[in-house]
Amino acid sequence: MVKEMLTVEQLSAILIILPFLAAIVCYLIRVSGVRSIVILITGGVLITSAVLLIPLTPFSLSPQPFFGVSIHVIVQALDFLLLLIILYFGFKHRHIVIKALALFQIIFLLYFEFFLIQDKPDTSTLYCDHLTLVMVLIVSIVGSLICFQAIPYMKNHEEHLRLKRSRQHQFFFVMMLFLSAMNGLVLSNDMLIFYFFFELTTLCSFLLIAHDGTKEAIKNAVRALWMNSLGGGAFILALVGIYRETGTLELQQIINSGNIGTGVYLLSLALLCFAAFTKSAQFPFQSWLLGAMVAPTPVSALLHSSTMVKVGVYLVLRLSPVMRETFLSQSVALIGAFTFLAAAALAVGQSNGKKVLAYSTISNLGLIFACAGLNTPESIVAGMLLLVFHAIIKALLFLCVGAIEQHIASRDIEDMRGLYADMPLTALMTVMGVIMMIMPPFGILLGKWMAMEAAASNLYVIIMIALGSSLTVMYWARWAGTLMSDPFAGRFKPERQPFLTWGALGSLCAGAGLLSTAAPWLYIQMIVPALSRAYLPPYTTQNGILENPYGAFAVFPLSLVAVLGFVVAILAVKRAAKARVVKPYLSGLQVAEPGVFTGPMNQLVKAEAQNYYLSSIFGEKKLTTWINLGAGVLLTLMVGGAL
């Protein structure tokens, strides 16, 4: 049927080229109705194609020449075009680092293409195993949902900005292009093509961050561009090194031939890890991701969940088999764990909701790097699970905060006090997102449990993970409690939001919940096949219990009990709703007005309390310099140790 009608060539083409075509249509036809329909159809087709790819995985293929020109030549040309565009932006914004890095990359690419590569063997251009598939599913499903929600969001956004001429065509052009770049990146097997898409995501993120065109937006976008160009530069250097040592640029061939152990080879791997760290905004490169918050919220959602930052962790997870039992791998674990702890500490000091989300992203990516670096079968499984669940839940949380921000015109957690009374359903979904971030039996905690048990043999890593996860609990619990604060609203009545917003939020929330329950299934169907041959599947699954010789996580039983507990608690809420509602205790005579009591001399006193942010310990001013310094030392250790 449909499955037989579409071949892997066609599906891959759809996944990579369709969003690109949709981007062009969005740019050319500047009618909002047409644009919405194009985005919805593209998203739908992307999701379907990604799902249809499941039974066809794994495969590898080399596309036929396109009108007589080979794909390699096309990508080669596009590569230079891309670098020239980046160079143009370097000149436009008068940024010496961007100019230098773009020129550096152009020169190395020229050297590479025309001097180093002698004969181009018949390489397989695209390759899709289950790790790729997981990424394709995340990009296509979560990415599309974010684009859907962006339709009503951007309409509101532009009304709020009172623009004379809509700039949405540019916005959606880049959003769609981004999806195209991501699918291309994860599907490519040829490292040069990988590099092209790597740079394309850099350019896309630059354009998206700069979208609003304010001074701050431009400044932050330029910062994102130079930091990620640094990664691009490291990447091309690494390619030269790897090609000289192994004589191939096929990712699969590199991985299958194992660690060849020469200094140049290890240094190249270290440079690839470095590139991954810049993409994933690990310390000391976190500032580009924090600065990216100036963009409209769907951009943050896209950058933080399904695209951009996931490139880095994907790359390192992909390379982990060749890094086994190297000093490099240990350094990656150390840097990851350090970032996990440091970003969590910084998140505690923040009252800005989007900043908390940003630091939490950096922190979670750090944990995934730590898992990749620990490099045991358990930790790799943990890393992949964290990757999946973080993508879904972070998208949900960002979209929730976006909806909240448009409603209350603030992103400060203090202003979200008692949000439940105002936006009950959004508040509840945000709280659900928080719960799924920090509580078992949900997916993130499953991953964290695996990570901790795998990290037990590494003293520094486990201590940092233990401290970091307690800090994580602190900043999330605080936020959830603030959202549910009284005044009590009475009957539950969902607020009005556009259908697309509810659709995106609802499907992400339900998806994360259901997938958590289905974790054993996910493990068998997706994660185990995604493991490289170097790793044996570490867990058995019986009766929905993930178990290895020294630990067990009862996913099904716990999910069942959690659902039961939830039902009982909801019934308790229903009963409590009939109980007498009293005012909070304020140690004074209560008056009708909330939060006010009669104090001495019959004066009305307003009682107020704010959250602890402990900025004297966890403030950005206190910590950032030291953390950057520490991360710098660790990075030097990593790259230097590979020499």
Partner: protein, 283 residues
């Protein structure tokens, strides 16, 4: 299958019964230390029954939700302990309960609840990493996170993990909110915070939080028993001695502020854990 059901039953029923009794003993012992006679042994049960029959009043219905979730998480953690499941998982689940208690307190606008809740978060921040590191130490010695395996270890863990046991005891003072670390709430009304975390939980909902606390007490005494699990006498002795010391410390010390708590936990606690863990890696 039958075994499992029996253990679940024991966990659910015997847990709070034992916890209530421990609480009663605690009160008698505390009274004796203060030259009082103290309440009857069953007083905690009378208290809870009385609270249960009071009129239900709420400041925010979500407090009821949070209280139920707290009891649910605490009881599941204890049941899993009786089923001799994964120790790390049990810690995660009891943390769920602790977080729900905090979220419930935060859902009231009373500054007493709010400040109490934030102090409780700081308490979690102090003890949680220590508990995880103790668990890691147990794993390094026995090679398993499963309590089944840990109980069948043929040498008392205390011998190899002396410092980690001290760390556990230290974490317990914070976890069970004993003085000097009864910052968020305590059995006696605070001068500055009334009942802190629990200020706006009332009537049957407050009774639930008390029952949840009993489950937790039993869970953590069970955790202590892991350190001398070779015979029953050792197990009971280590639990009794530990709890007696906790009550003693509770009675002889004055409350410290959170800076001291966090500072001590993260410096002394981590140092002791690290030293002991390094021994284990070395051996």
């Amino acid at each position: 299958m039958i075994d499992t059901a029996i253990f679940i039953g024991i966990g659910l029923v015997v847990g709070p019964l034992l916890g209530g009794l421990v609480s009663g003993l605690d009160r008698i012992l505390t009274a004796r230390l203060q030259s009082r006679i103290g309440p009857p042994l069953w007083q905690p049960f009378y208290d809870v029954i009385k609270l249960w029959n009071k009129e239900k009043t709420v400041v925010n219905v979500w407090q009821a939700f949070c209280a139920y979730c707290y009891v649910a998480a605490a009881s599941i953690a204890l049941v899993l302990f009786f089923l001799r499941s994964d120790l790390l998982l049990i810690l995660f689940i009891q943390a769920v309960g602790a977080v729900f208690l905090v979220v419930g307190a935060l859902s009231s606008t009373s500054p007493f609840s709010q400040v109490g809740a934030h102090r409780e978060l700081l308490q979690i921040l102090s003890y949680e990493p220590l508990l995880i590191l103790v668990t890691i130490g147990v794993f390094l010695e026995t090679g398993s996170f499963k309590i089944e395996r840990i109980y069948s270890w043929n040498e008392p863990l205390l011998m190899k993990l002396p410092f980690l046991f001290v760390v556990l005891g230290y974490a317990l003072i914070i976890k069970l909110r004993k003085s000097p670390f009864d910052l968020s709430t305590s059995h006696h009304a605070h001068q500055e915070l009334v009942k802190g975390l629990l200020t706006d939980y009332s009537g049957p909902i407050l009774a639930l939080t008390e029952i949840g606390h009993w489950y937790e007490v039993v869970l953590f005494l069970g955790f202590c028993s892991l350190f001398w699990a070779t015979n029953w006498i050792g197990m009971i002795a280590i639990v009794v001695i530990t709890y007696f010391l906790e009550v003693l410390i509770d009675n002889v010390s004055a409350r410290l502020n959170w800076r001291w708590m966090l500072g001590y936990a993260w410096t002394m606690g981590l140092t002791l854990s690290m030293v002991n863990l390094v021994w284990l890696y070395a051996s």
